[in-house]
C-alpha cells in the first residue's frame, strides 16, 4: 500500500483526489492537511465521502507528511514550492497539482504568478506530468508537475500535428470552454450560481496562465517556438472542458490516421471516428479524453475537438495516473470508472 498525504484538500481537486484515492486498491490515505479547517472531519465538509473517508483535516506541521510515500499538493501556487524540498529530501514522492513546477523558465514563472521561484533546483528536476509525452521520465521522477486542465486538453489535441510538423505553427488557435469548477471552490462573486448560470463568456483573453504552459509544452515537442492564440470561456456546467482547436494544414496528411496511430496505445485517449463530436458529459467523472477531427468543407483549416473532465484528466485523475507510474503500478489502476451519463 502506498501511504498518501494530501496538502490542501478543501478544494475541488482535493475532494476529487479523495474520491479517487479512497477507491484506489493500492492506496492508504494517511493524512490530509488544512490550516483553516484543522479538526474538521473531511466528510463534514464533503458529505459525499461519509462512511468512506474517515480522516480529519490536520495542521500541516502535525501531519507527519515525511512518513508518507507520496504527497499530493492541491494548494494555491507557492505552497508546494515551499514544502517540497524537505519532503523530497525525506524520500517522499511529490505530485504538485498547482503550477509551482510547471514552467521551466523562471522569468515566465515570475511574470505569470507574481512571485519569484524559491525551489529552482527542484524545478530543474521536476518532470511535467503529461504521461502521453513524458511517460518514461515520470516513472523515474521524484517530483511531478501535474499539468493544468486547459493545458492538458490543448496539448493533447495539438500533439500529433505538432510532432508531425504538418500545420502552421505560428498561428495555432485554441478556443476552449470550461465548467465553473475550474475556478475552484473559492467564494468569488463571478463563480456564483446566479452569475454563471444561463450565461456564457470569454475571460482571460489578454493572457491566461495556461498559455505559457501550453506554449512551453508544444515548443518542446516542435523543437521551436509556437504561436498560439488561446481564448478560454466559462460555460454553465460543473465539470468539463471542450477545447476547439484550429490549425492551418501546411503538408497533406491523413489526420485521422495520424491521431489513431499516435494514441493507439494510450489507455486514456479515445480517438473517435471521423465526424464525431465529443461531448464533455461523455467523459464526466472519468479520466478519459475524447478527440475528434474535422476538416470543414475540405478547406485548409483543421478543427480538432477535445473533451476532458477538468477535475479528472485535467487534475486529480492525471495526478493519480502519475502516481501509478511513479510507483510502478499498472497505469490505469483506480482510474477505470465509467463516465456518469446522464
Amino acid at each position: 500500500m502506498i501511504k498518501v498525504g494530501i496538502v490542501g484538500g478543501t478544494g475541488y481537486t482535493g475532494v476529487e483526489l479523495l474520491r479517487l484515492l479512497a477507491q484506489h486498491p493500492d492506496v492508504e490515505l494517511a493524512a490530509i492537511t488544512s490550516r483553516t479547517e484543522a479538526g474538521l472531519a473531511v466528510s463534514d465538509m464533503f458529505p459525499s465521502l461519509r462512511g468512506r473517508v474517515n480522516l480529519c483535516f490536520v495542521e500541516p506541521d502535525k501531519a507527519a507528511l515525511d512518513q508518507c510515500d507520496a504527497v499530493f499538493f492541491a494548494t494555491p501556487h507557492g505552497v508546494a514550492m515551499a514544502q517540497s524540498p524537505a519532503l523530497v529530501e525525506a524520500g517522499v514522492k511529490i505530485i504538485d497539482l498547482a503550477a509551482d513546477f510547471r514552467l521551466k523558465n523562471l522569468d515566465e514563472f515570475a511574470k505569470w504568478y507574481k512571485i519569484p521561484h524559491t525551489a529552482t533546483k527542484l524545478l530543474d528536476e521536476a518532470v511535467y506530468g503529461l504521461p502521453e509525452i513524458n511517460r518514461e521520465a515520470i516513472r523515474k521522477a521524484r517530483i511531478v508537475a501535474n499539468p493544468g486542465c486547459y493545458a492538458t486538453a490543448v496539448q493533447l489535441g495539438f500533439l500529433p500535428l505538432v510532432e508531425a510538423g504538418v500545420v502552421d505553427m505560428d498561428h495555432l488557435i485554441a478556443n476552449a470552454a470550461s465548467g465553473v469548477s475550474g475556478a475552484g471552490r473559492k467564494a468569488e462573486v463571478g463563480s456564483l450560481f446566479a452569475e454563471a448560470s444561463d450565461n456564457f463568456k470569454a475571460y482571460g483573453v489578454a493572457g491566461h496562465r495556461h498559455l505559457p504552459e501550453i506554449k512551453q509544452g508544444l515548443a518542446q515537442v516542435a523543437g521551436r517556438e509556437v504561436g498560439l492564440t488561446f481564448v478560454p470561456h466559462l460555460t454553465p456546467a460543473i465539470r468539463g472542458i471542450l477545447a476547439t482547436l484550429y490549425a492551418r494544414v501546411t503538408k497533406d496528411v491523413d489526420v485521422q490516421k495520424l491521431y489513431a496511430a499516435r494514441f493507439a496505445h494510450e489507455p486514456f485517449i479515445d480517438v473517435m471516428p471521423a465526424g464525431s463530436s465529443p461531448e464533455t458529459r461523455s467523459v464526466r467523472a472519468s479520466n478519459m479524453v475524447r478527440i475528434a477531427l474535422h476538416r470543414p468543407q475540405g478547406g485548409d483549416t483543421l478543427v480538432i475537438l477535445v473533451a476532458e473532465d477538468n477535475l479528472v484528466k485535467g487534475a486529480a485523475g492525471q495526478a493519480v495516473q502519475n502516481m501509478n507510474l511513479m510507483f510502478g503500478l499498472e497505469e490505469t489502476t483506480g482510474l477505470t470508472h465509467i463516465p456518469i451519463l446522464p
Copy 2:
C-alpha cells in the same frame, strides 16, 4: 458469472444499468434488446460507454434471453408483463424496473396504468424489491418488482415512523422534487432544456402513479390504510430526488434514535446527525440514501428529509442490489462507487 440480459436499454435507467453492470465483478452482459435501435452499437448511442460495453442492440426475439441467468426490464410498462412468464418458466430471474409488478391490486393497476394486468399469477408471486423491507423474500424471489424512484425515497423516509406507529397516519405529506432525468429519455417538450431549466414547478398534484405504490407499501408496514398527500416537483437538475416529508407526532419518541436503530445495519442508508440537511449531490451517481430528521421549533410536526439518486437507488442501483440478493452475492457488490461531488 451471472449472464445478464437487458430488455429496453435506450433510456436513462438502461444506460445506468449498463454503467453499473459493466463494472460489476460477477456479471457478464450477454444481450441488450431494442426494437427501434437493433443493430446500433450501444456505445454509439451512449459514448460514455465507448470501450467498455461492446454490445449492439438486438431485436428482442434474437436475444436468446432465455439463456440468461437474469433479465432486467428497463421498458415502458406492459412489456415485462408480456415477456416475463415465459422467461420465469425457463428459469430466468426477472427484475422489472417498470411498474408491471408493483401494485398487487388489479383494479389499482388498471386505474393508474390504463391497461388490464395479463400476468396475474406472476404478479401474486412477485416480490416488491425494497431490500430494507423485503430482504429475505427478495433472496428467494424469481421475479422482483423494482420500486419507483419517488416510492423508494418516500417509503424509506416514513418507514421507521410507520413501523413504530408514532405519527398520525391519516395525514402524511410527501413533498418531493426530482431531477429531469426522472421523466426519462423521451422526446417531450416539457423536458426540454429551454423549458425545464431556470424553472420550478409541481406536477401530478391530482394524482401520480407512485401514490398507490407508496400507500400500498406503507399500509403493509402499518397494517392499515394510510392517508397520504403526495406532491412531486420538477427541479432543474439532471439527477436526484429530495423528499421532504411531514408527519404529525402522536406518541413521544426519540426520532433520531428510532431511525438510527432501524437503519443501523443497512449498507445504503445513512442516517445523518440531527440537524443535517442532505443534498442530492451528496448521493449523486451512488446507491446511498441520506436521511435527516427535524422537529422545527419543537412542535408536533416532524420533517424528514431524504436524498437519493433517482437513477441509482431509485432505479438501476436498487435493481442491481436486488440482483445481488437474488443470486446470493454480497449485497453491496458493484455498488460501492463514491458519489460524484461536485
Copy 3:
C-alpha cells in the same frame, strides 16, 4: 418626477430596482450609494445597464439623500434602521427592502436578527408593504417595510383561507423552493455554481427569518396565533419561488371561488384555473404572482401552489408597487413587463 435614491445597490435587489426604476416613467434616479464601490460606474458593475443608467456609486454621506422624494434601502439589515429616522424627518419617503421594519415585536426582531432595534418609534409607524393586505395604509405611509420574498408568496397563498377561517390554523405547512439569487450577491461557497447546480436541498429547517414574519402577518389576518411549519429549499434556478402550501380543511368551502373573489381586483395576482400548476418561469422578471388550488383525491388536505419572482414581487417589484401607492400613482406603473419565457 419622483426623485429617487437607492442605498446599497450592489446586490441583486439593487440591480433589479435599477432595472425597474430606469424604465419607470415617473422616476428620476438621483443617487445610488455604496461605501465599497464609491466612484464605480453602476454600469461597470452591471453591464446590462450600459447606456441606461449613467450614475456612479457614491459615498453615503455625499449622496444628498435628504433631497430625494423617496429612498429605497437595498442593504443588509441594520442600515435602514440607522439612517431612516433622519430621512423621514427630512420628508423623504422610505421603502426598506431589508428586514428592519418588518417585525413589530422587538424581542422577535432581536432574536432573529441578533441586534437590538434602534428606531422603535419609526418601527411603530412603519407599514408592512403587502398591498394585497395593507393597500390603504401604504398609500399614507412615510415608511414601508417591504416584505421578504418567501413571506410574500406564503402569506398571499394562505391569505383567503386564513381570512375565511376555513382551515386548521395550528398546522399550516409551507414548503417552498427558491432560486439561488435569493441568497444575494454575496461571495459564499454555498452559492457557487459548482455547489448549487445539479443539486437540491432544504435549508434553515430549524428556523428561517421569514418564519416570524409570515406568522405575524397571518396572525394579524386571523386575529389569533397560527402554527406554521416552514421548510425552504434551494433549487438550481437563478430566479423564482414556488411555495407549495398544505392546509387541512375544517369547514367546507369552494376554494377556487374563494380565491377568485378575494383576488378579483388585484392587478398582480393571477388565480389560475383549477388543476393548474404555475411554473416559476411564467412570472420570470415580472411582478405577477400566479396561484393554483388543488384538493388531491378529494381529501381534506388542500394544496396551494404560488409562483413568484423572488426579485420582483418578492423584492424590487413590490417595492416599486409600494412607491407607486405612496406617491398616488397608478399602482401598476412601470410594472407591466411581460414575463420572460423561455
Copy 4:
C-alpha cells in the same frame, strides 16, 4: 396601429414575438395561426402571456392574414415561400424569420434546405434584414428575410474589418456558442434537459446552415468571396449567443476606433471599452448586441467577442426592428427593454 398577423407562433421565436409585440405601442395583434393548435388559447400554451395576449391559435385559412398590415412567419422553412406571394400581392408586408428568403443563390438554397425554391421572383426582391447593413433598403421593402441568429452575431462582429479590408479574408474563423433555445421548441432527445445540461459540445462542424448565409453577407460587403470556418457549440443556457471571432490582421489599424466609428449611431450595438468581455446575460431578453475587441499579446490575430440574445436580436427583436423600419416608426420602438440580470 399596425395590424399584425403571426404564422406559426408555437415556437420560441413565436412566443418572443408575442412578448415584444404585445408590449409594442403601435401594434395590434390581429391573428396567430397554427394548424396543430387551432382553438387553443395562446396563453394556455404560454402562461407567461396570461392576461396579456387574449388570442387563440386559428387555422391558417381562417386567419384573414390578407387583412393585416404585416405578417411575421415564425415557421419551419418552406412555409413563408408558399404563402408570401399572395400576401405581398394583397399589400401585406412580410417578415420571414425562417430561411426562405435569406440565400439569394438558388443552388445554395436547395443544397442546404433540401427543397427547391418556389418563389424566386419574391426572393429577388426580398431584402436581407440586417439593419446595420441594409437599413435604407429595409425601409422600402415589401418582404424582409430576417437573418439567422448566428448569422447576425458573426456578420456584425466581422463587419467593420471586412468593410475596411484589413484582415485575411480567406481564413476567418467563427467559433460560437448558443443556448439551447436556438434548437427551437421541438421535442428532440438532444435538446432534453438531461442531455444538454452540464454538458458542452460542438455540432454541425461539417456544415451549418448559417454558414452560406454568413459567407453571402460578408462577400457582399467585401466585394469578393470570403473563406470562413464556422464551428457552433451548444452551451447549457436557455438564451444567448457568444461569437468568438478570429481574424489575421493584414493592414495595421486601430480596431477599437474602427468599430466605435462604424457603430457610433447604431442604437442596438454597444462597442465596449477595450479589454472587455461581453457576457450573454448582459443582453438577456434585449435587442442589444455587445462587442469587445482584443489583440492578445499584440500578435497578428484579432479576437472579436460578440454577445447577443439569439431570440431577440437573433430573431424576434430584429424582426420587430425591421417592422419598425418598414412602417416608418422610430427604429427602437418597443425594443428598449433593459436586459434581465441576474
